[in-house]
Symmetry: D2
Subunit: 378 residues, 4 copies
């Protein structure tokens, strides 16, 4: 594996490396870790890389790696949002598989174009919507698919955070990384783009529902900010399902309180990211059940995505690593000329990325129209 | 105390009686428990009443009680929604204080008229928005008032229930009491009127915020129903605060999961009706705190509304009884010619009832206009 | 009902009155609320009693009430421990039914004598081990009886409190009521007598197990105290079941954290007094279940001891009131000449009181012998 | 790093490898994964090792690695209990640093001997009492050391599991690995040795207390078993602290419910392994606090042992990896001739292993003497 971005001090780059390391199946061997060649070099030393495979730019890396016999099997892209498209395009066209951080691109248009590039390349493209890597999220998805909830009626997905609230009272934009506050780098939305998309992706992954219409109210509570730090949406899903998606970075004291509740005619489920090893199932007239990771009674996907027996808590890095393992499996199959397993691979694709970009675009468009109902464009 | 409605088998009548009994300060001595005089009489026997004070109609009761030396100090109204107005008017005009179940009236217009009747009567009128009787709700209100949360930014209040979902798949309207499904008896809304108003009242009580604009999507998931069994609202509160209010009777497996989250610049609070003895306070960079009922560190209102030391759980009936005690205190003061204490009385009034009716009317009006933003009319 | 003790300011007297009031079936009409006749009189006024039925001593009360046509149906005894025996004996021998606070007597010998007095009297004697009044405790008992746990293997019951810890660092005995620190008033044990017996009673009520041998280590952490404020016990129960019973008043910050865990070959249960409306059931290889009060799927005892539908939390007072209702039912049957219902009455009797006194005596005896194994004497 | 034991299918070997992999600082390069050379070879292929560094026996491995220029920096020992001593001795005497699974040895005598061997070798010896790797455990330790709890009074540590209960009703020893049921392989205790020692170690790590006397009741509930599957202990700690340590493998439905409660005169702490990212702190008269991993308000040890910001749950593998990182740091310092940092290293040593063996020996000795009080021998 190679990496673009994610040098010293970058949070998400470190997470990607731990996820890749965990199972001893993936080895980081090359990288362009910074647009500053000197910084890139120092990061390469941190990661014990051969100096000749530490590059000063992603373009150089794509070119030189493509020429090597022992070239990387895939590249991981952990640069700022506005560069995702160019880097992904470069590597895909140079014949590499790609794992890319989300949101996939700066704009929906870029997303649609990237979809075509991926299709043309025939390469594996994986988007790290990491929360779908949790075993109990996979169990929730299985329950919905197996009809255990009956017909779905309502879905509530939320992702409240508070990390940006310190800045509300006039201390500037401090805690939100500057680039996330800049539309030219982050895109049309901050909060919905950064975490609202995770809630949206989680709904799609577990329930299979798509948004038909959405009415969104985005707010920038932090004085002087161009982009939203809070958003609340009414949603009309496919199949007559109704619901809410809301996210926030000014919900003071909340941490990563991503959760989903899906209500069906037979049963309902509830899952909380901060307590990821449990899945709560509720019924009209029977005791509630708590499904817990690592138990034999769980479905095959939950089992396959667990590393330890029950009640040895698994968390964020393990879920992230599950996305890596699934993508690595697809890449290995491709390298070995194998076809996909029945049921396909289980990682977020370029299509999920397009759906996410369409979600962001729709929420911004609705909000600019006083929370009018709008249809996503993809 | 006298009671209109609430005879044998009526859930809410029994709750009112337990609330009145609990502290040994209030005695039920008269009633018109049913529109069927025979049933009323049997109920009177259940409650050990003198036969002569068990009446066949509320009109008879108001007239005969008014003529007695030892007349009741107040009447409790626990009839169906559409009768609240007429019964309240009758007793107020006959010179009685009134405790009335919610929603206050059938329509907003009735609510506005009742407000004038109350004002003219000079009598005590208490509406049993019982959830504000919980000690930790009072502590939450104190925190907001004392500025401990800083400036409020966002409020999320919800009341998901699942009791009506059994009927979704075509088995009729079964579990929702027939009268709640009938607009002529229940009013313009079922779900928002029955429980959405509780969420709305809780927001107002704790935060002091009023709704400036609301965009509501009400749904009747149960085939053949005229009234909503689910509703989701975007809200713009006074002071630039944003938020969500949602309620449901088809959230399968949820019970009475009323909760509120209020996010401020200094701290945030979270309270759950099903775990009422705790109040969670969250901060940007300090450990979360859990305030627990019955402790010496709580404010005076929480203390005054507790009956037992910490960790002897108190619940729904105790909270309900707190509303009764507060109203009874006002009634006693009036009987004894005392003026109200500094800070006033702490029970929901006719003004709260009008606000609730305006909330219901606004959600229905918005929903009929495709969730357009509307302003409440009162 | 009449009351001995429990005047102004007494915590447990107020609880008993609320429990008696709650359901409108029991009326306080007489009392000797204090050994000081003036204080007794003032308390009687608080409770709206006829002055002639407020007595200056329990002996006077027993005598005068016995002579009345409209005498009380039963007396509630809420005096200090060392007076329980004498008051109970006096009223039983005067022909009254008795509800008595726990621990039942000052010594095991008194307990055994009281058992004979009760038997001879033919009267109802109810001991307020109130925690067995919770609906979910009754559901737990049903599960064990119905064999849903299989064969029991292990039981862990605990009651940690922290209220006495403030005094550890030399500030005297402050927070423990003086009389509880005095062996002549409280008996041979403070902590095990006051709350350890509740844990012990809960085990017996739910599981039906008796202690065969116990090894106890009691400690007085508070300097200068004669009686224990903490106790830990290894237990060998009937049927080869093993376990632990521990209680504490120096577990700083714990409130009334009474809990029980009973482990069987088929399933296990877990119940926490501070979260009393839930009962957790665990299995070897199936999702955990949470049984919640008020649901239709519960057994008849849980249902009969609930007053409101699910998720309107019920608590300590309601559980206490259930003990009162059960005892009042037995008293009413006796007054009306009815025999007991099939399955008997469901309240703690003098036999439970004797078992509690034997438990206290055994823990003290073991502890005095360096935690040697001892057998309870009854 | 090299590994002895832990080939294909071995749970704990896989955990050690993931822990070593996670941070990209440690590379597995050699191993003797099975006593069957063929199996060892296949495992080596799984782990992408050079065939020449996959050995057929640990003795061969120690000898050949010692002779290499690029020899391993340390060996990880994950064989069955009875082989720990011989393998550790062999590698220490061959000049290697050692990371060893617990319990450290088969007997206390071996433990004492190993302590001398380690001392003589001058090598790093790390015992993987992995639960002390959790950040919030380190925060708890800091609180005790900084005096935030005041003087300790009582400690309750427990580790209930249920995995062995399926066999109680006569189906043999099935679910307990055969070797754990065999005293010649597992040692004098199964349950106390396997998990009781974790509870004991956790107490020592957080509180610094040692056991002065212990009274233990061990039980083999599974018919036909030679070794205990449940154990309950009364404990007298240094400094007059009292408490309980109990562990079980027949607590049906419990998973890895390791927890500790430490009660002090100023405050108390509570930590649960299944919810490892939270630490609850309780006070006599102040709101409870919940400290959560990843926040800036935590001490340096908690911070240094976290990989991600708050509320990205970290779990078992991360805690395990913290032990590896700490040991690897010590090994690196030794290789580079650096002295230990101020305050020393933070991983369990041979002394902790000796304490654990002494704990096991004492519980078995006490239990064989009818739970008499005994003193640990080391």
């Amino acid at each position: 594996m190679g990496m673009v971005g994610g040098g010293r001090g970058a949070f998400i780059g470190a997470v990607h490396r731990m996820a890749a390391n965990l199972d001893g199946q993936i080895e980081l061997v090359a990288g362009a870790f910074s647009s500053d060649p000197e910084k890139s070099k120092l990061s390469g030393e941190d990661f014990f890389l051969d100096a000749e495979r530490v590059y000063g730019s992603y373009a150089e890396m794509a070119e030189k790696e493509a020429a090597r016999e022992d070239k990387i099997d895939f590249v991981t892209i952990v640069v700022q949002n506005h560069l995702h498209f160019a880097v992904a395009k470069t590597f895909l066209e140079a014949g590499f598989n790609v794992i890319c951080d989300k949101p996939m691109t700066l704009t929906l248009e870029q997303g649609l174009e990237l979809r075509e590039i991926v299709a043309k390349s025939g390469k594996v493209f994986c988007l790290t919507h990491n929360y779908t890597g949790y075993p109990m999220v996979k169990e929730a998805r299985r329950m919905v698919r197996d009809g255990e909830l009956g017909r779905l009626l309502k879905v509530v997905a939320e992702y409240p955070q508070g990390y940006a609230v310190g800045d509300v009272e006039g201390e500037g934009q401090g805690k939100i990384s500057n680039w996330r506050a800049d539309p030219k780098v982050a895109g049309a939305s901050n909060c919905m783009g950064d975490i609202g998309t995770h809630a949206h992706n989680l709904v799609r992954y577990i329930t299979g529902l798509e948004i038909e219409e959405i009415a969104a109210e985005l707010t920038a509570f932090i004085p002087g900010r161009e982009l939203d730090d809070d958003g609340n949406c009414l949603v009309r899903f496919t199949g007559g399902v109704k619901g809410l998606i809301f996210a926030s970075q000014i919900s003071n004291g909340d941490e990563n309180a991503l959760s989903i509740r899906a209500y069906g005619t037979k049963a309902s489920i509830e899952w909380h990211q901060e307590d990821p090893n449990e899945l709560i199932v509720k019924y009209a007239n029977a005791p509630r059940k708590t499904y817990r990771r690592g138990n034999d009674y769980l479905g095959s996907a939950a089992a396959a995505n667990s590393r330890t027996p029950f009640a040895h808590p698994e968390g964020f890095i393990e879920a992230f690593a599950n996305i890596y393992l699934a993508a690595a499996g697809a890449i290995a199959d491709q390298l070995e000329g194998k076809s996909a397993p029945e049921g396909g691979y289980d990682f977020p694709t370029v299509d999920d990325g397009v759906a996410g970009m369409a979600f962001i675009e729709a929420t911004v468009r609705s909000s600019q129209n006083n929370a009018a109902w709008v249809k996503p464009k993809a």
